[in-house]
Structure formats: structure tokens, C-alpha cells
Amino acid sequence: MKTAKKEPKAPKTAKVPKPHAMYRKPIPEKKFQRRYLRHIELPKDKAMLDAAFEVRDGKRLLKAGLPADQLTRLNILARFIKSNRGFVKTGPLLAVGILVAGVVVFGLFLMNPLLERAAEAGLEAVFGARAEIVGLRFQPFRMRLAYSSLAVADSDKPMSNLFETGQAELRLNPSAMLRGRVYIEEASVATIALGTPRAMSGALPDAPEPPPQAEQTAPDTPPLVDLSRFDAKALIQQEKDKLLCTAAYEEAGTAYNDAVQRWEARADSSKKAVADAGTSVKAALAIDLGAIKTLDQATAAIATVKTAISQAKTVGTEAKAVSDGIGKDAATLKDLSGAAASSVKTDLAYLKGFVTPGSGAAMAALEPSIKAMLSDQGETWLYYGRRALDILGRLRVKAGSGSGNKDKDDDRAVPSPKGRNVYFPGADYPAFRLGRLASEFPAGGAAWSIDIRELSTEPDLVPAPSTLDLSMERDSGGRIVVKAQADGKATAALAFSLTASANDLAVDLGDALAKAGLAGLTGTLGAEARAQGRSADIWELGADLGLADARVPSPEGTLAQAIADALERSESVDAGIRAAQSAGGESEFSLTTSIDTIVGQAVSALAASYAKQATADLEQALGDYVETELDGKLGSKEDFDALLAAAKGDDKAMDSYKKALDDKLKQLEAKVAALGAGALQGIGLPGVSP
């Protein structure tokens, strides 16, 4: 079957596009000029557009049969004509829709984490330490903000939290919010805890090192001696480090050792020289005058004696120097050994104080512990008080550098990269204001209630000063009420005042007085305290405390027993505390109590019956202690005394040698004179004639 020959395909013609809708209808000439041609910028395109239309009855009609490329270009120009018309876009409505959707997504997923981080950053700036907020939720339409927990670290103790709160809900003021201020009208917090430990350090990366914490040392409490089982030797061993004689003997012994070492070699050398000189001297003194018959023999003997005299002089000078030096040291060492001996008497008096306690001894034993205990408690509260004032001060500083201070323009001479802020009155909202924070919660077997009002960055814009009302009511009875006020207004110079009272508060001092044998002291405390100050560094505090129904379950020792009995018999033990810190940073603390009066007489009477025997025991034991442990330290004294005696002996010997040699020399000179006279007898002198 024959197949027809395929005809060659006709070349593809470009598909003619449909003209844009805006070109299809007739366009009035005026409109064509104003709304079409005017919006084409390029002259060539303008000419093409003009040529593509024909005029019919005063209207423009698109010419028929235009080539495809021209129609394509015309359609492109249609887009420009459309976009170049008018000033406002309707298209961005879609973008607005996307923006709204974005805001919703932001609100659902990003807003809370970002707000959480921003709030943490703000708290970190104020407190100077890490802040952690968990589960922050912001409800913009209700103006409510809530979180599950908040912990702010203590910048001075990075391993502790300054405070920690449980679940909280905050009501924000919308009007302030629209002015860029944060005004928390009311905040309710489930729990608040202070000083809780942290797992990780709360120090900020670039924060300065916190000030070193003073190490808490136990108070140096003198023990109350149990007189019924008094052991003098044990007391001396216990107090050994505090006895003066121990150190005095040590010092004297060392001085003797040093002196012996210093003089020993020189004294030996001098002694040897004296012995050598003695040999020469004896040889010179042994010269027999009767055996000298001639002048030559006499002259030789004189020379021998003179040599011996010269040697004796040199050796004698050294022997005297050694003797004088050792003698001088001997005077000093005598004083030291005298002081050591007298220190024994002082120590004996000190040790007797333990076995003859008056009322003062009882107080001396109790006061350090009581003071330490009260100081610990007081310092904890003072610390938080100081931190609170410090933070109020920081808030004011932050406000000063921000936009809240209405009266102060930021008039730095050199422009900052962030510009300067000019302040205008009118917005009476501080940058931050906490209207009220209230919390009631149980903790540690007590019901706590905290009410804080009017914390703000600009106290001048807030009608009332900052206040704190705190109360704690124990389940077992007893109540503490604290009312504090801090006025940060510029005119008030951040003055603060505080009153606190405690009633029927059961106290258990635990081991605080254990060293005095009064472990487990319990009672019922009543207290009134007042504090006021001009700043965190200048303040004064007074407190009056009364401890009723004092009981010590098992006092240890005779004196502790007497004190416990006296406390039990008394109606109340009163104490007064006065503390203050002045502008120069000097602090005072004084404590007065009635303990001394209460227990004094009972203790004295008890002590008198034991004191005589105990004193005798002590004298004996101290004597033994000095003999066995201290006298040995003066072992070098004998060596030194021997050195001194030998040096003095050498000096004396040399003196006697010198005297004997001088006599010998005189005798020899007389002999020479006699020999000379004998030689001249019988020799006549020549006559002399006038």
C-alpha cells in the first residue's frame, strides 16, 4: 500500500496574545491621554502606545492586526499604566493580613518567651544578678501577666537567691502601658522565700567579684567550770595556749640559746689566748734576778718581760671585751627570766578566775554566745533591709538614666550615639511602679502575710512612700509583726523606719549556748524593735527583748546547773540591744541583760564552797606544769652562766698577770741600775785645771 508523502510542516507562527482588558473597550481621547499615555515614561514606548490606537469618533480604539510582539509589549505597558496611577496601594491589604497573622503567631508562640527574656533582663539590671522567670504568660486584652516561678540571685552571694517566688499574677495598668511605662496595679504571689540555695551561680558574666564574706567564727566563749568535778591539770592543758608563762619561758629560753651561740666561740678563743699568755707570763716571772750578773743578761730579761707584758695587754683587752659583752647580755636575760617567773603569778590569778566565778564570770561565759546569736538573727534582717534600700536606690538610678525623670533633661555636652532625652511634664507615670504586692502563704510551720506597696523608680511621682507590712503567725502560737516604710522622694533622702514586735514566740536556742553547758535553752520571747535611718549605711536600731519561762532541759556542769535553776526561778530574762552605724561606716553594738543579776548570787554562793580546794589544786598543777614543761626551755641558762663566769675569770687572771709583769719589769730595771753603778766604781775622772 502506497503511503502518501508527508508534506513539510508549515513554520510555527507566534501565538497572538489577547490584548489587555484595559485596551479592549473604546477609550475617550481625553482619558487616553490622561490615564494611559501620561503614565508611560519612556518616549519609545509612549510613541508605540500612541500609534497602536486609532481615533474613531473622538475615541481611541486598538488597531486590529497588530503583531504579536507589539501586543506583548502593550500588555507589559498595561501593568505600568496601572501601577503608575494613584498614590495609595490596595495591594498591601494582603500584606496587612499577613502582618496580622504574623502578630497572632507572634502572640501565640514568641511573645511570651520574648517578654520573659525582657523581664529577666530588666530584673538583672535592677538586681545585678541572674533572674529566672518560668512560665510567663501575658494576656494583652485583660492586661494580666502571670508566671509560674521567679528566682532572683543575690549579687553578693551568687550561690543563693535574694528571693524566690511561686506562682504570681500581675494586673497591669493599660494607660501606663500605652505611655511606655510599667505600672503593676496589683500583684498576688503564692509564696515568697528568701535566701534559698541555688544549683548554679547567679553572678552575671561581667559582674564584679562579690565582696568577700566574713567567715563566721564561733564566739570565743570562756567555759563554765564544773567545780564538783574540777581537774586543775585539765584546765591548764585547756588554757595552755592562753597562759602568759608559756610564751614568756619560750622567749627567755630562746634568748639564752641565742646568747650562748653568740658568745661561745669568742669566749673559747679568748680562753685559749689567756692560757697561752699565762705560759709566757709564767716564763717571764720565773726569771731569777740573782742569776743575772751582767748588763747583757739584764737587758735580755727585760726584753722577755716586755714581750710578755705586750701579749698580756692584747689578750687582756679581748678578755675584758668578752666579759663585758656577756655581762651586758646577762642583764637582759635576767630581766626576761624574771618576767617569765612573774608571768606564772599572773597566770595563776587568771586560772583562779575559773574556780572563783562571780556574777561577771557567768556573764562573760554567756555574753559572746548571746551576742553571736542575736547578731546572726539581726544581721540577717539588717542584710535584707540594706539590700531592699540598695535596690530602691538602684531603681532610682535606672529611672534617672531612662525616660522617667520628668524634671531632669539629659544635657550631656557630647552627643551620645543614642541621642539625648528631653523631659516634658505630663506623663505622671514612673518608668516602673508596683502598686501593691500581696502574698499569704504557709511556710515553716507558720502563716505568713506580706503586703508591699508603692515601689517605684520615681518615688516623686507616687503619692505615698513604699511600705512593707509583714506578719508571721506560728501554728504553735506566737506572732511577729513588722511594719517598714521607705521614702525615696528627693526631699526625703531615702529615709526609712521600721517597727517590729514579737509576742508569745516560742524560742529554742538549740546549741547556741552549748559551750556554756546550757544546750537546749527554751522560753517564750516577747520583743519590740525600732529602726530608722537616712540611708542603707546610716542607721540606728534598738530592741527590747524579754524571755519568759526559760528552761534548760539538761544543763552540763555545776555552774550551768546553777544558772539553769536561777533562770527557771526568774519571771523573765530581759535584754536590750542598741546598734548603730554612722556616716563614717563605724558601727556600734551593745547588749545589756538581766542574766548577770539573776544568776550572779546563786553562782557565787556555789563557787565559794569549791574555790579553796580548787585554788590549791591549781597552784600545785601550775607549779608542776612550769617545772616539767617550761623550766627545760631555760636549759641554756647554765651554759650561759658558765660562759659568764669563765669570761670574768679570764679577765681577772689577765689583770693579775699584767700587775705581776709590771712588778717584774721594775725589779729588772732596778737590777740594771745596780749593775751599772758597780761597773763604774774605781774609775777616776780626769782632772780639770783652771
Binding site: H39, P43, K44, V88, N421, A427
Partner: protein, 178 residues
Amino acid sequence: MFIKMIARLFATLNSNASRGQVAAGMASGLLLALVPAGNLLWIVLFLLIFFTKVHYGMTLLVSAVFKLVLPLLGGPLDALGWAVLTAPALKPLFTSLNALPVAPLTRFNNTLVMGGLVAGLALWLPAYFGFRILVGLYRERWAERIASSKLGKAIKKLPLVGSIAKAVAGISGRASAS
């Protein structure tokens, strides 16, 4: 992507985009550059521009370029803002403004914000007309001259410029017309 962005800007200059829109975009970019970001005023200005038919590409380009040189203008802008904010005659106005809700969020009381806003608004019209004239001159006189000059041709031969030229052609659809 970057080449395409540059190409779009060149395409704009060589296309039928309204010179008024291009000039307004440039003037608006200058305004946005002069006002520091991070406040409600900047956001409002941005949204206003967003809803008008200015050329965004030019807005962003000019804004980015002027942001680079803005630190050099910090002193004069600060002085201008200070002069405006402390002018006794304007104090009642700013005080009232400060008392209004939301207004403080614009940070109008900052010297750089106020200086930038005043300078930006004052320069907007001159910048608009200036850029408009420049775009017109470019389109009517310089574009052809540049394209036909030896330097223009040499530049066109560069690989990067070639890529840009192709992109321009693709975007503006102007190849057939020019």
C-alpha cells in the same frame, strides 16, 4: 538573588516605572534612614510608606546607603533635635504630646529621633524633586549616552554586568522596545 536585586533597581531606572514613585521611594528612604529605628515613629513611617505607591526597592537602597553615613550626621541631627525639643514655643505642644497615650512610645523626646524626623521631613520635598529630575535626566539623556559610550560598552562586557543586563532584560521586558 543579589544580582537580581541590583538588576531590579537598574530595571526600575530603565523602565516605565513612574519617576515620581521612584523619587518618592528615594526621598522616603532618606527619611527612614535619618529617623533611628526601634520606636513607634519609625514603624508608623514605614507603614505609611508601605501603603503608598513609592518604589520600595529604592526606599530600601537609599535607606541602607544613608544608614552607613548616618553616624557622621549624628552631631548635627542631635543639635537640631535639641534645638527643636527645647524651643520655648514648642514646649506646650510637646508637653501635651507627652501626656497622650502611645505618643511616648515614639520616643519623640529623643534628640536623634526628633532631629532625624525634622531633617527627614524638611529634606523630603527637595529630595523628591531632586531625585525626580535626576531620574528624568537619566532616562531622557544619560541612559542612551552611557549605553553607547566606550566605557559603557566595556562595562557591559564584564561578566557580572552581563548577568545584570540579562536580568534587567528579563525583568523589565524592555529588550524589544529599546
